[in-house]
Symmetry: C2
Subunit: 417 residues, 2 copies
């Protein structure tokens, strides 16, 4: 087992151990937010026929040479093209066909004139313009031709993809499976949120924040509960998570007196790959894998901020890899500090910061008390500023890399138009 890894080495180790999830076939509307596991080729043309871009009349452009407001062309309206149907005969010279937007252009016609450019009296149509050939006609296949590869492996399924798949008549689609993440915590001092906190008891809030972190990125959390501090209780709870893809435990995997977890994991066939990463908060992070199938195991620290932070930095990218995403990480930007930050060399610090956009740049200031027990440093944080391991000071006015963890930071208060 390795210990005292750099953040980068820990991340690489975890990502190398994470396979992309197998595929499954889902109804399109249930696949929103998933990632395609197979490319989609079209078996249809879109649109299927030449069709009208306007409400008006399908015509033969040769019939309307030199037509104008002063010298209108005269045609006979032979029929109307029904919505959802098509003409049963071609239009002949001197004829027009009434057509609505989207209607299939009838044989014989090579242009559409807009209703506004005509006058109608019974079946006699006067046309005040000279249409160019193909005018106001949308070409069959201008969107998609048969055999076109319209979506690629790794494309995310959003609204436009749903519309495209529906238009192509696809009712199911092959996507990567959603990762199942078993979550548990260990500790005699922990209680559920609705239980009393007298004596030294504290609420097991980590399981709830971790489950929300899973949901936010589209993974499925499975909450196993709290294990009391005995090997039997810990083993029983861990066994309940062995069929998941990831098993995430908070507290318990440490060098403390109460650490049964490592022993239980070994008994179950899980070898710890590393324990301890040179970061703050979050040093006591453990990562293990089973030799013969089984979940990837993450032993997160017990402090609320440390648990969320190590999930954010190490579990989230691994889950995104498993889900088939191309980009695994949060948006990053360079921000200018508005205050001095100092620390000892040796560990990379993730400093919780509030962000402000002004003067064409982004400015960062600490959310205050950076203790790993202070959850408000997370509720207030829009970003995590990376204070590299070997640096000891970043002073006001200098820039640093910030991971943006609050998607609302990008939302705008104006439409842009």
């Amino acid at each position: 087992m390795q210990t005292g890894l750099s953040a980068n080495a820990a991340l690489r180790t975890i990502l190398d151990a994470t396979p992309v999830a197998p595929s499954e076939t889902l109804p399109v509307s249930a696949a929103v937010g998933r990632v395609l596991a197979a490319a989609v080729e079209s078996t249809r043309r879109l649109p299927p026929h030449d069709n009208s871009a306007m409400d008006g009349y399908a015509v033969r452009s040769a019939d309307l040479r030199h037509a104008s407001a002063d010298r209108p062309g005269e045609l006979r309206v032979a029929y109307e093209i029904p919505a959802g149907g098509r003409a049963d005969r071609a239009i002949e010279p001197g004829e027009a066909a009434r057509i609505l937007t989207g209607g299939p252009v009838p044989p014989g016609a090579d242009a559409v004139v807009r209703q506004e450019d005509t006058a109608i009296d019974g079946d006699r149509l006067r046309v005040f313009v000279e249409p160019a050939p193909r005018e106001h006609i949308r070409d069959a296949g201008e969107d998609v031709e048969v055999g076109d590869r319209v979506l690629e492996v790794g494309d995310g399924i959003g609204p436009a993809e749903v519309g495209m798949l529906a238009a192509l008549g696809r009712s199911v689609v092959s996507v990567h499976q959603r990762p199942r993440v078993a979550i548990l915590s260990t500790g005699d001092e922990l209680v559920e949120p609705d239980q009393p906190v007298d004596g030294g008891r504290i609420v097991s809030s980590n399981s709830y924040s971790l489950a929300a972190q899973c949901r936010e990125l589209g993974a499925e959390p499975i909450y196993l509960g709290i294990a009391r501090d005995t090997p039997i209780a810990v083993e029983e709870l861990f066994r309940g998570g062995l069929s998941a893809d990831f098993l995430v435990s908070s507290a318990g995997v440490s060098v403390g007196d109460r650490d049964f977890v490592r022993g239980v994991l070994e008994k179950l066939g899980c070898a710890l790959v590393f324990w301890g990463v040179n970061i703050k908060p979050g040093y006591p992070l453990a990562f293990g894998r089973f030799e013969h199938g089984g979940p990837l195991v993450f032993g997160l620290p017990g402090n609320p901020v440390s648990a969320m932070m190590t999930f954010e930095q190490f579990v989230r990218p691994a889950l995104r890899k498993r889900m088939g995403h191309r980009c695994l990480f949060r948006p990053t930007l360079r921000a200018t500090l508005t205050e001095d930050l100092r620390k000892k060399a040796g560990r990379l610090h993730f400093v919780r910061v509030e962000l402000e956009r002004r003067d064409g740049g982004v400015f960062a200031r600490s959310t205050g008390n950076q203790s790993s027990g202070v959850l408000r440093s997370m509720t207030r944080a829009q970003g995590l500023l990376i204070f590299p391991a070997e640096e000891t000071a970043i002073v006001a006015g200098e820039t640093a890399t910030v991971q943006v963890i609050d998607p609302e930071f990008f939302a705008s208060d104006s439409s842009g138009f």
Copy 2:
């Protein structure tokens, strides 16, 4: 009824008519993604007690004046503080208490020494450092004091908020209700995706892309189906959506021959506020409201791109306002064009663009055919470039405002550390 509005006037009209949703009380874990309708004040301190930041021993610092590796202080370990319990008596001069990380500091103690800085033999403890008062002690209430307002109206509920609410022992929370959006389309030519498209029939794909647009932003779509082109069929379908918050119809509300929808809406008590917005794609957008309660009504154009675009520009901000969000709009940025764009003056164009980050800037190029029937212009688009109504050219090298519609555009391919 107004017509030919500017994009801005249409947006203002819609937002002015949109109320913020009433509140409801939900279990915290079901409230992820919602927006708080009432501030949260704490009835607890977090942490509840002074507690240890380390595994080690709680001591009286006065007992260890000048202690060092050469001249260790000597103490007797009086007891161990159990996890989830607390000491039943104070430590006396000359005593220490075994304590684990997070354990409540016993009465009498005013510092914690780390395990690494001690040696133990039976109950005799040698301490090799001189602790400062309060060293390695986390103060009770350093995160939250009783009465602190920890979350504000308008805060979104994400993982950190879930963790905070759990830690405070809150199992329910007051959030704005999720908008219900009834979706339907009208047209004899429309079929569901699994039905044949022979003749002039086309798939009613809009309902599916619109439902996905609702889901993506956290609203609840209710799909009513396809109304055939008769007043009775249209009225029946619209009646099914009257209890929703928004009613979104694609196609049908126009000046075409088949437009029964306006008549039906008037019969039901809905007055059209405007029809026609000077934008492309999406001119034939209608907006109506009921005089005495009832949904806001959006008649979107039938073309697939126009339907998605008008939802994006007008329905989405209104839904976000209703959900209680502070910022209603997509992220915007300035991008440099890599090609010339030209149009006639008069309508604001939303140009579907692909975006590329390079040389410290963002570059935009058209996704190709901008026809309102070409769905691939949407599946490929990461942004919508705003080509203002009165401008006729933006040439390569100039910048323009782009709305970023693909959240994955911000995702990063590196961790930042």
